[in-house]
Symmetry: none
Subunit: 216 residues, 4 copies
């Protein structure tokens, strides 16, 4: 049975063979290494191909263009982060809201351990291309689900609230990564992030400080 060659987003050949899968992996790995070593300026398709040990032609066999490569890399990172968070939650013994929040925060922070340079570059690159948005979705959903379980005595979050909380959390973490803050992996930092999330969740539940709004 001939499997149809489903064109994906970058309408390039989908790898259905082991070798092809390896090649794609090698390219992505090469891309990450180039990014790690030289940042965004060094991230050229030729450099990636060379680092990956494949020819530039082969690279283009699997990625429609440079930004497709970048997108794939970002996706890989995002998937890894989400998997880490999910795993952390599964193995978390403390079932309280705070326990789950802490597990999530920790997994997210940990996701930036090692290869910081590459992640930073990926973040920058993704921003610089304006891809941002869709990658944030899953994490936001996660927060919405985790933080707003109504059965835990917390109010369900509105879309704006999910947005604010998820972006605020990611904003703090991302800034720590981009600015290469030394306390990135310190327990104190984690504590403060947890405090931020918890305080907000509780304030929303308490309906505080809702009404007192000055006329714009």
């Amino acid at each position: 049975m001939a499997r149809p060659r489903q064109p994906i987003e970058n309408n390039r050949r989908i790898p259905h063979q082991a070798r092809a899968t390896e090649t794609v992996a090698a390219i992505l790995e090469g891309a990450a290494q180039v990014l790690e070593a030289g940042g965004l300026p060094a991230f050229t398709t030729n450099a990636v191909a060379e680092r990956a040990g494949v020819s530039i032609g082969t690279l283009y066999q699997y990625f429609a263009d440079k930004s497709a490569l970048l997108r794939a890399l970002a996706e890989r990172e995002m998937t890894a982060t989400l998997a880490a968070v999910a795993k952390a939650l599964r193995s978390e013994t403390d079932p309280s809201v705070e326990g789950r929040v802490r597990a999530t925060v920790r997994a997210m922070v940990n996701a930036f351990r090692g290869r910081q340079r590459a992640r930073k570059a990926v973040v920058q690159a993704v921003l610089a291309q304006g891809i941002t948005v869709e990658m944030m979705g899953p994490i936001a959903a996660f927060i919405a689900e985790t933080g707003a379980a109504p059965h835990r005595g917390l109010a369900r979050l509105s879309p704006e609230q999910v947005f604010v909380l998820s972006r605020a959390l990611m904003g703090a973490i991302r800034a720590a990564v981009l600015e290469e803050q030394p306390f990135l992996r310190s327990p104190t930092f984690e504590d403060e992030l947890v405090r931020l999330v918890m305080a907000y969740l509780q304030a929303v539940t308490a309906g505080d400080p809702g009404p007192r709004r000055t006329i714009a």
Copy 2:
């Protein structure tokens, strides 16, 4: 006889004559327009010069290179934002902590009104260059001062706490800008940002949830 020079970062001619000052302004304005119109990809020195109505040579008479131009633009934006915040605070009639927080948040959000594209591009560009950090400083200082006035019954914030709060706030605003969220200027969004800041400040003051930290 050595002519006076600008600080190291930009060893280009400093304007002596009125005409020169106008030229610099025209270039910066042209840069903002190019950014607004075409985003970062369109931001070439030639395009800026043309839009500004000056020759490329003139541009380089005042800006050492492309990134210096971008930096100057970012500085201009940052200065404007800070001025707006300061002005908002001065004219704020409500002296309570929340009143001041709200004024600050509103000014920051408003700073992104109009020319959103350009600001987005500036932010992206600045990020893409890795300049980020120093521009955040003033805002962080602002938050530290505003939010942690001890005489208002609030605890003084630690450096990590200032970092978390300022980056979280900016992260949410910046995400709304970058993602072009429709609620960017809605009162609800502002409310949630205020809630976030206030909840965190109060949680810090209450010392909550400090100690309960799982072993890493």
Copy 3:
């Protein structure tokens, strides 16, 4: 897998395929032609690429930058000159010192026949870059070997003497080329060069006029 690379001075692709070798030759030939036609001012990388019938990108695939191209050209000229001298000596029937000197001089002068403009430009360019020195080495060595064969009843030359003789000889020839002297290829000119070399060699052997040095 790292591809083999040329030595440091020119980290560009080394030709693997026949086509590539031809390309390099075409570029060098194009460079010589441009130089011949328009001199140094016309020697731009774009002009060379166009004359060579390749794209500018291809040129840069084989030469790190403009000066590398110039260097390669100079090397080619130098190698050709040396080969001509060596060949002349091999086929020289007169085994006397003067016979050998004459053969060398003639080969050197002949080396500047044709494409004078290009050679002139190469010399100028090389000088203008300050590369000069190392290219002179082989010729000096040649003179040292040729002129100072002790078994011919001539004293061995000191390093300073080798320097003076080689540079003086080359200086006269180069000046004739640069100044486009009509007698460049006349027998008389050759005679005088031979006379210069022979007279110096004999004077050195005679130890004349060594000692009579005035106090500086």
Copy 4:
């Protein structure tokens, strides 16, 4: 009486006022300094004007273009060298041919003392522009006159012989300067140059090795 503004070679205003003369001197001095400090690549009209403490406009008031400036500089150097040689000859007590040759050689070598970098650059620049020739004239004449005084028992030199001798001598000196040879100012080097000139002069007088010319 209105003095006519004689256009000279660069058809720019001839300085008839003290201030103007000073300005020209300042520019030439600035040019020499720029050359000395940064070599040919740094030698831009703007840099020279700045170093000279005048505006670029003023520079162009006195020099038609960049090469005119360079030519003037070369002329200045040449004049200085010739003056030094002439002075050395005047004060030379030894009236013998060799005494006069030695005085000349020494003065020429000395002319390259100090500001070697600038002179090197001037030489390079002049070569790179192809101006060379005419500057050599005076020195050649000098040699012709000095070396070929028939009343000293030496044959009169033919034009080719003057050429060969003057270029050979200058070639050796110039090479020593360009290659920054340590022995440039050593007595040994001077000795060898004297030996070269004397040997050639004597060989010419002896008519040796005139006839034995192989068929070309």
